[in-house]
């Protein structure tokens, strides 16, 4: 009887702490999650754009373009991400404001969201460049040649042939990058951006319910991954529509 009453009481305490409205901290966690997802989506999208340009630059660019792309991917992949984030965040915002002041404008407050997207997107772009470059190289050359032989312009060929053909080869790598993006948002806690990890630390620190809140955050990260896997699986099925499955091909 005594035991029976303790468990429900502990449970109801947890539920109060996790409830979405004060005094619960669930709302803060969910807000942090939304911020994390926004940054991850933005950074991943920006990484895709940089990666596409980088991959084309590395494969088909002039020697100068190739060198620049090479320097970019090498440096970004060599320096620890935390260092890059601190560097880009503080140095980057400082640089922009100096430029603004020098040209006679007011200093601006760069929103943490935008800064976070740009900083992480810059990092993602380097990895995406390598993923996409490898995928483009994996396209059967005959298909590219057929596109040229039928008079496709370079942009039409990219849109209609190259990008759709390389997608099956790029997807596993891109899916990895997406998951890394969702977790790298936690690094932005160091610059004080209130994403999921920082919100969790605050909730845990205030209530001293460390285990509860970090478990809850871990669960949210896990849910992102599980949900992403379902989506990626569908996209992959679609992208591989012209390819017999590995099992069939055996």
């Amino acid at each position: 009887m005594a035991d029976g009453s303790i468990i429900p009481e502990a449970l109801s305490q947890m539920l109060v702490l996790l409830s979405p409205s004060p005094p619960g901290w669930g709302g803060n966690l969910l807000r942090g999650l939304m911020h994390s997802l926004q940054i991850a989506l933005g950074a991943f999208g920006m990484g895709l754009i940089i990666g596409t340009l980088g991959a084309y630059g590395k494969l088909y660019g002039s020697p100068l373009v190739r060198d620049l792309a090479g320097i970019y991917t090498t440096i970004v992949r060599a320096v620890p991400e935390l260092v890059l984030i601190l560097l880009l965040y503080y140095a980057g915002t400082d640089l922009i404001n100096r430029i603004l002041e020098a040209s006679g404008y007011q200093r601006i407050d760069i929103s943490g969201l935008v800064a976070g997207i740009v900083v992480l997107g810059f990092v993602q772009g380097a990895y995406a460049t390598e993923v996409l470059r490898g995928a483009i190289k994996a396209i059967p050359q005959g298909e590219v040649e057929a596109a040229r032989a039928y008079g496709m312009s370079p942009t039409l060929m990219m849109r209609r042939i190259t990008l759709p053909s390389m997608l099956p080869y790029a997807l596993p790598g891109l899916a990895n990058l997406w998951l890394i993006a969702t977790k790298d948002t936690a690094l932005l806690a160091v610059v004080g951006f209130s994403e999921l990890t920082l919100e969790t630390r605050q909730a845990a620190g205030t209530t001293k319910a460390y285990f509860l809140f970090f478990m809850a955050a871990g669960l949210l990260y896990l849910l992102i991954t599980l949900f992403s896997n379902v989506i990626v699986g569908r996209i992959e099925k679609w992208a591989r529509r012209g390819m017999p499955s590995v099992r069939e091909a055996r």
Binding site: E145, Y150, M152, I161, R241, M243, P244
Partner: protein
Amino acid sequence: MMGSDAVSINPLQPQTAEQAEAIHVWNLHKRFGALEVLKGVSLTARDGDVVALIGGSGSGKSTFLRCINFLENPTSGVIRINGEDIEMVSDGAGGQYPANRRQIERIRSRLGMVFQNFNLWQHMTLLQNVIEVPVHVLGMKRDAAIAIGEQLLERVGLSAKRDVYPAYLSGGQQQRGAIARALAIQPRVMLFDEPTSALDPELVGEVLKVIADLAKEGRTMLLVTHEMKFAREVASHVMYLHNGIVEEEGPPEELFGSPKSERLKQFIRTVS
């Protein structure tokens, strides 16, 4: 030898002075670094001509065909397609490249190329492959392109496969699909580069039949092939290439019936 005109013997297309030149190549040279692959090849194909290119492996047949639609940039020489001279500019390193990318794209979209390895786009169904160029390069309405595409697939015996992806088709079916893709652009000239060389022997016949039908209806074609019997039947003119030079050329019965050069005699013996 050089520049002698191909003469049509196709009964459906009686040779008249009016037959316009579809392709005119004069003194074409191509080198890859130190290796000179084409050493002055000339050819004229008029509407309705079927020119067969034969020769040993490495003699430059594919390179010649690929120069005609500028998949390779010829080192020197004149190429005129549809009566249009292709302007070239020097690259300053002994080579040249087309001055106007748009002109090349326009000309390519009137030359239907069929490759040894089919090269269908794997992420598109057969019908999507066939309508891709008409819709996205030539600007045809999608409905009209589909109507034509369906007719062409019917013609090559692939109506039932219109929504199938190339990887699920046999080599012979893929090549017939690739021929439908080439026909869909209403090409002035069709270019075939060993269209049956990658096929299992039992699938060669179905593809050759389609090509023979095209020849019968008066299509202008340039055909690289190792099928000597077939070349003899469908070609109006045969060119034998050896080491980048046209060693001998003429009507098929002459070339195969009474070859003059010792090399050609030997070549015919080894391949047949």
